[in-house]
């Protein structure tokens, strides 16, 4: 049995760094020709910086090149693939077979098949193996039995989404964005029409529930199925969210890292800890369910009340440094003297009651209310610049 890779999204270099430091074995990022055209995508030099950083930690970087090409993209794709090859990315994630073919003909790039290809069965998996693909990112509609059967019958690496937002459609089969907003979803322009409200009508009558119709799905979480995924021999466990914050990445990756390690190191006596679900739920502000994995994809996997991102203010700040028993912190949400907070880093976390706060001129203050305000907090416990500060869970429970 091979310990599965934990694969994290990274929208920029800072998030790449956070993901790797908080426990990811590899990150996936977008450059050109990827399905997050409106994210802060990486330039070639930024990808090179990320690759060098990841390799210095003995970790990997995969680059998504997962658009469905139109004719005009054909002229630039080969040069781009050659650049990725030259700077040593560990794999590309592609779905358009023309990209796979061109990568094989012109580079030595390792190729992972994107979930956009909607691979749901072992015959399709066999085909892609024969085409030189080394890993398949399975369709999110696969259930546990599908994954197991594919793994048993095809000698190819399998990557499975374990956490994050879901498309309401089969990947690649939604062009709502093209029709309603003239933005091409299969080239990275998705405008998330699935989160809009619609009226459902039957002939000329409204079919009105208490809330309007929406396609919106709850998030995916397979945190409680980590033992099953490890036992099945899944090679990579993937977290969605290249547009998510560093705080989100740090929290989700750290939590999955813990669960994977706890199971891997203690298979005989492993016990699932419900506390992890609470941590994940607080972080995303959205409900999460196993979606298709357990075969139950009925009414409970959807939202019926429109947008559900109820903002919480759990994330309080990012640590910038530590000197003379003072933590230098950049504020993200309101906090004040007397609050019980949690500092967490890649390998530990601890609670602190805030007794002393100073502004940048070292004047003592009681409240920190300005976004991105730089303050100093007294703490005898040392932290490093990659730590973050959040509300202590015990205070949230109250």
């Amino acid at each position: 049995m091979i310990k599965p890779e934990l694969l994290a999204p990274a929208g920029d270099f800072e998030r790449l760094k956070i993901a790797l430091l908080y426990g990811a074995d590899a990150v996936y990022i977008g450059g050109t020709f990827n399905l997050r055209a409106n994210a802060d995508n990486f330039s070639i030099s930024e990808i090179e910086r990320g690759v060098n950083y990841a390799h210095s930690l003995d970790k990997k970087v995969y680059v998504t090149v997962n658009i469905a090409m139109h004719n005009k993209e054909l002229s630039d794709i080969v040069d781009y693939l050659k650049s990725l090859d030259k700077i040593g990315v560990d794999a590309i994630i592609a779905s358009d077979p023309a990209i796979i073919k061109l990568a094989k003909e012109n580079t030595d790039l390792v190729i992972h098949l994107s979930t956009q290809a909607s691979t749901l069965n072992k015959e399709a998996a066999k085909f892609w193996k024969s085409e030189g693909v080394s890993r398949i990112v399975l369709a999110r509609e696969c259930n546990m039995e599908d994954i197991l059967d594919i793994k048993k019958n095809v000698d190819i690496e399998l990557e499975v989404f374990v956490h994050g937002a879901m498309c309401a459609s089969y990947s690649g089969r939604c062009v709502l964005s093209n029709f309603l907003t003239a933005r091409d979803s299969n080239r990275g322009g998705c405008s998330q029409i699935c989160r809009w409200d619609f009226d459902l009508m039957e002939d000329d009558e409204y079919l009105k529930g208490e809330k309007p119709f929406t396609f919106c799905t709850k998030d995916l979480s397979l945190i409680k199925y980590i033992p099953e995924l490890v036992d099945m021999g899944v090679d990579s466990l993937k977290v969605e969210g290249r547009m998510r914050s560093a705080y989100y990445i740090a929290t989700i990756i750290k939590t999955y890292r813990k669960v994977i390690d706890e199971y891997w190191n203690n298979m005989g006596s492993y016990e699932y800890n419900l506390k992890y679900e609470q941590v994940l739920r607080r972080c995303a502000n959205r409900d999460s369910v196993p979606q298709f994995f357990d075969g139950n994809f009925g009414k409970n996997v959807q939202y019926y009340n429109g947008r559900m991102e109820v903002t919480n203010q759990d994330f309080l700040g990012t640590v910038l440094g530590y000197e003379d028993s003072l933590i230098k912190l950049q504020q993200r949400n309101y906090f004040k003297k007397g609050d019980l907070v949690t500092f967490f880093g890649p390998n530990d976390e601890f609670d602190v009651v805030i007794n002393e706060i100073y502004d940048e001129d070292m004047n003592e203050i009681n409240i920190v209310r300005h976004p991105k305000q730089i303050v100093y907090i007294k703490s005898d416990k040392e932290v490093t610049p990659n730590y973050m500060m959040k509300k202590a869970i015990s205070t949230i429970d109250k």
Binding site: A98, L180, N186, L200
Partner: protein
Amino acid sequence: MKLVAIIKDFKQANDLKDLVDAFILPIKDYSINTDSNFSLEDVLEFKNLGKEIFLSMNKNIHDSELDNLKEILINVEKIGVNGILFYDIAFIQLKRELGLKTDLVWSQEHLVTNYETINYWNGKGARYAYLSSELTREEIDVIVSNSKSKLFMNVFGYIPMFTSRRHLVNNYLEYFDLKDSSKNKTLYKEGKRYPIMDSTYGTTVYSDYILNVLDEDLSSIDYLVFNSHLINDDDFKEILYNYKNSIIDYKFPYEHGFLYKKVVYKVKKND
């Protein structure tokens, strides 16, 4: 240039047989986005009409469906048809494994968008490709000039724009305890109505308009597809009759979809 109809039943096919060169028959359990579907016994009956026959098997294939699919493909081979429209890549692999001679039509709805990929699938056994409806006229012309495959193109009918494994309508009705009277359903937004349908295999949402590009010069396209889904039989026949006889038909307005519509995908400049 041949005219093809996606049809609802044998009566309709019989009624249209002098107007079209080929039929697309949705196959039971393996087809989505159509009003009805047919068994292989039905296919035999349609063959008697003396037209080219293509089978639509355009759903995503789940692992548990493979055994039955193999059986069907072997039987299709015995019956003999002109081609199978497929979405799932399992068809390419099964054609190879089972040594099937039946031609395949690469029909991945919204992904048939460039000639290089069309030629790739041609090399893997799909000698036909069914163009995406999100292409511009200019893109289509470039594909026509560079493609090794014979091309299908939607020229009349509603266009599917969303397909989910989930039963979104049924879920909504169930959640809010609403009664389903099995009438046609639409999603309404800002003055537009989008047909939406649940089936055993999930939910599909269609364009708010009926694509109608029959005023275009379509002579370079091998197969022009007229889709009867959600269209009244008499109207559908009239459209085909008029097109076949070069009569300008004003019953349905021309609607060019994306042929001359600029679509963007990057709205924000990255740093």
